[in-house]
């Protein structure tokens, strides 16, 4: 179905059309031969890879990007690394549907639990269902240092650990909030840095209190062998909060080498300010940072050859055609385009240049991680993706 006819289509047809459009674009843009698109045997490949102690790095965009600015023909100039460098090495899910609440914290928490969480997006609460980090650590008897989250804002400080009575306290991941650390390092209260360090683009004047499992500067110094001076000096050389997050994540990979690392990028969500040019810059930066993370995975001895990377936006953004929204600016209408996104998966045993356009669910991520890493996400509602699990 041509995208221009989507206005009269059902939500399912819209999602399918989006998936088809992404597939066709990737086929042409990446120069992948048509025959290779659907010819692979994932389980065989995974077994053949024979990976011991596999690792996983999950990269989410906490600020969805639309097809018009990414996988549609006119958007390809914004994502050269995803299309030309990463896609040929990946299996690409072209139709990932998020059926939950379209707010970044609650949606990311849903990705991390495999259950559509229903709490207030701006509330300082833990997920109610066990997180992937708890399943991973409890089932596999892993130390606390083996699971980490690097998150963009104070609102994410409780995402590492649920309040589920069978899991919860002491079983989750450590959470690093680089912007919060930077604020405390440079003593930026309400001065010039407020704009830079604001917590959320959705509610830019709101900064929730911290009360979770986040790591403070002193602990970070010991963990990453990073002094306050080094940290702030590095920050001065970086252009955005997401670059700071990736800097911390790379340091974490080198010094701690966690087996499960979750990085949430957030620069794209500047779109809430209504400035299209800044939204495009956020997309381009995220594209480049994803390639940098993959490069780090390939070059760090602790990660090379045994790490799977998952890249996915938490959801999309409103379409131009829905009069209830304002196009790229928000994700409030709940229309099919704002719910339909994608996932790119790279790693050992993963098919290369493969596009899967059947609909899958956002909450399928945790069961898939469970199947690949060897834990049982017993309370998750999603299903492991058979092509890669």
């Amino acid at each position: 179905m041509p995208l221009r006819n989507l206005k009269t289509a059902s939500p399912r047809e819209v999602s399918a059309a989006v998936a088809s459009s992404r597939r066709e674009f990737l086929r042409s843009a990446a120069g992948v031969a048509a025959g290779s698109l659907f010819s692979f045997a994932p389980r065989v490949a995974l077994a053949a890879a024979g990976v011991a102690q596999p690792k996983a790095v999950v990269v989410t965009f906490g600020g969805g990007a639309r097809d018009e600015e990414t996988f549609a023909p006119e958007g390809q100039e914004n994502i050269p690394y995803l299309v030309q460098t990463l896609f040929p090495q990946s299996t690409f899910y072209a139709q990932v549907v998020n059926k939950g609440i379209l707010g970044h914290y609650v949606a990311t928490a849903s990705l991390a639990t495999g259950v559509y969480e229903t709490f207030n997006n701006f509330a300082a609460v833990s997920p109610h269902n066990p997180t992937v980090f708890e399943y991973f650590r409890k089932d596999l008897h892993r130390r606390a240092s083996d699971a980490w989250v690097v998150a963009p804002s104070n609102g994410f400080n409780r995402i590492g650990e649920s309040d589920h009575r069978s899991y919860g306290a002491g079983l989750g991941a450590g959470v690093i909030l680089p912007k919060h650390l930077l604020a405390s390092s440079i003593g930026a209260g309400s001065t010039d840095y407020g704009h830079l360090l604001r917590d959320s683009y959705e509610a830019p004047f709101y900064t929730p209190e911290l009360a979770g499992n986040e790591v403070e500067m002193q602990k970070l110094k010991e963990l990453l062998k990073l002094s306050v001076d080094d940290f702030t000096a590095s920050a001065r050389s970086l252009a955005s909060p997401d670059e700071l997050s990736v800097y911390i994540a790379r340091r974490l990979m080198r010094e701690v080498a966690p087996s499960l690392l979750w990085i949430t990028l957030h620069d794209i969500d500047i779109a809430h300010s209504g400035t299209y040019s800044m939204y495009l810059e956020g997309i381009r930066r995220s594209d480049r940072l994803c390639a940098e993370i993959w490069k780090a995975i390939e070059t760090e001895p602790e990660y090379a050859g045994k790490t799977t990377m998952y890249i996915l936006p938490d959801f999309g953004r409103d379409s131009d055609s829905d009069p209830g929204g304002n196009g790229f600016q928000h994700h409030r209408t709940g229309d099919p385009l704002s719910r339909t996104t994608w996932m790119m998966v790279l790693g050992p045993g993963i098919g290369k240049g493969v596009v899967i356009d059947r609909p899958v669910d956002s909450i399928d991520l945790v069961p898939t991680l469970g199947a690949r890493l060897g834990f049982s996400p017993r309370f998750a509602h999603g299903k492991a993706l058979e092509e890669i699990a």
């Binding site: 707010g103 830079l196 709101y206 001065r236 252009a239 809430h272 209504g274």
Partner: protein
């Protein structure tokens, strides 16, 4: 507060409404008593602001109420069954949905998301809207609509592929004489206003400081609202610093702000426009900070609410968003602007302005013009012009306007 049902509504419940809004609500009391609880606050949200609504908004609300009044109870029940099936929390039903329907609406949205009822709500709302709109004959506008966007102020040259989304809809002119361009466009708006004088029917929105507009032209500018923006941000900051400033509290604060609270003239000479301008700053995201966002949102809301015959939107450079390293180096200049980024913002905004104009009646006859200020490129969209074409014929803006109006 104990829960109140629509069937218990009385005239005295609307005592706190502005005069015309109160009369409207009381006149339709019997109808309101028979509607599902979830729908009544949504109607009251529109009714409570009736005194400050533009003429098309007033007519639309009156027609909607008349339509619902004209249905038999079984017809109404069938039409609104989608709303009746939705469940509300005790907290929502016990809230002040009569006195503060806007807050109810915000809370309802959060409730629908949290209870996975948003899709059902959208389906019910679309079903209702389609049924109602199916009974309405769109009024042909007295004058063919004309939308004009001027963008690129301060940009000497750019490699950005301008008008990508609009070019397929009309003709790209590549040899436009830019001399006296803005003056020509303002004169055209003034002439249309003089020829077809109707309140709030001809608009000029400027993302910077406004030029003089003709008599009868409603003028809004980002620069003129600077004191209001500062007052509003100051009020928000106070709530945040009080320690109780979560998103809900801030939204409530914004919703309860009156024009006189933030520096609009208290004499109410043009209360409708004052309320509209305030809404641009309290309901729009980013409008308080970036002029390009303000101009785009103002154009959107003007088209949606006032449904004007003429709209001229001129974009100005917005403040530059400084990268983190510059901010940390403490060498930054706060007032620096970003003409190139603003051009890209405005190019997308021009497309959205055209889309919003096309949602109004008479869209098939409407005309649209977007011009790169001070330069030779413009796109004109009109039924008389071929779509997706390019014209290298030298022309000035007056000529192009003559061809499309």
């Amino acid at each position: 507060m104990s829960a109140m049902l629509p069937s218990q509504l009385k005239a005295k419940n609307f005592a706190g409404y502005p005069p015309e809004a109160r009369s409207l609500a009381v006149a339709h009391l019997d109808l309101l008593r028979q509607l599902p609880l979830i729908l009544v606050p949504l109607i009251l949200r529109e009714a409570i602001a009736y005194d400050w609504r533009f003429p098309p908004e007033r007519r639309e609300l009156e027609r909607q109420l008349a339509y619902l009044d004209g249905l038999t109870p079984p017809q109404r029940d069938a039409l609104l069954s989608g709303f009746s099936k939705l469940t509300l929390s005790p907290k929502l039903t016990a809230g002040d949905w009569i006195g503060a329907p806007g807050i109810f609406s915000e809370q309802l949205s959060a409730h629908l998301w949290a209870t996975h009822q948003m899709d059902s709500f959208r389906a019910a709302a679309e079903s209702y809207a389609n049924a109602w709109q199916g009974t309405q004959t769109p009024a042909t506008p007295a004058v063919r609509r004309l939308g004009i966007v001027v963008l690129g102020q301060g940009v000497e040259a750019s490699d950005y592929p301008l008008f990508r989304k609009l070019r397929p809809q009309g003709t790209l002119f590549t040899e436009v004489d830019p001399a006296y361009g803005l003056r020509t466009l303002l004169a055209a708006v003034a002439a249309r206003s003089a020829a077809n004088p109707q309140p709030y029917s001809h608009w000029y929105i400027d993302g910077g400081a406004a030029e003089a507009a003709g008599a009868g032209v409603t003028s809004v500018s980002y620069a003129a609202l600077q004191p209001v923006r500062k007052a509003l941000l100051s009020r928000m900051q106070r709530v945040i610093e009080s320690g109780s400033g979560g998103p809900e509290e801030l939204r409530t604060l914004m919703g309860q702000t009156n024009p006189s609270d933030v520096g609009f003239a208290s004499d109410g000479q043009d209360a409708v426009l004052d309320h509209f301008q305030l809404s641009l700053l309290t309901e729009g995201s980013g409008t308080q900070i970036f002029s390009t966002t303000f101009a785009q949102w103002a154009a959107r809301e003007t088209l949606r609410r006032a449904q004007p015959a003429t709209l001229l939107v001129r974009f100005a450079p917005r403040e530059r968003q400084q990268p983190m390293n510059e901010l940390l180096s403490a060498k930054h200049e706060v007032t620096e602007v970003d003409p190139e980024g603003s051009l890209i913002d405005a190019d997308m905004a021009a497309y959205y302005t055209w889309l919003n104009q096309q949602r109004l009646s008479g869209a098939d006859q409407a005309a649209f013009l977007v011009w790169f200020e001070g330069h030779k490129q413009a796109v004109a969209i009109d039924p008389s012009l071929p779509r997706g074409s390019v014209s290298s014929t030298p022309a000035n803006l007056h000529q192009i306007l003559t061809w499309i109006t």
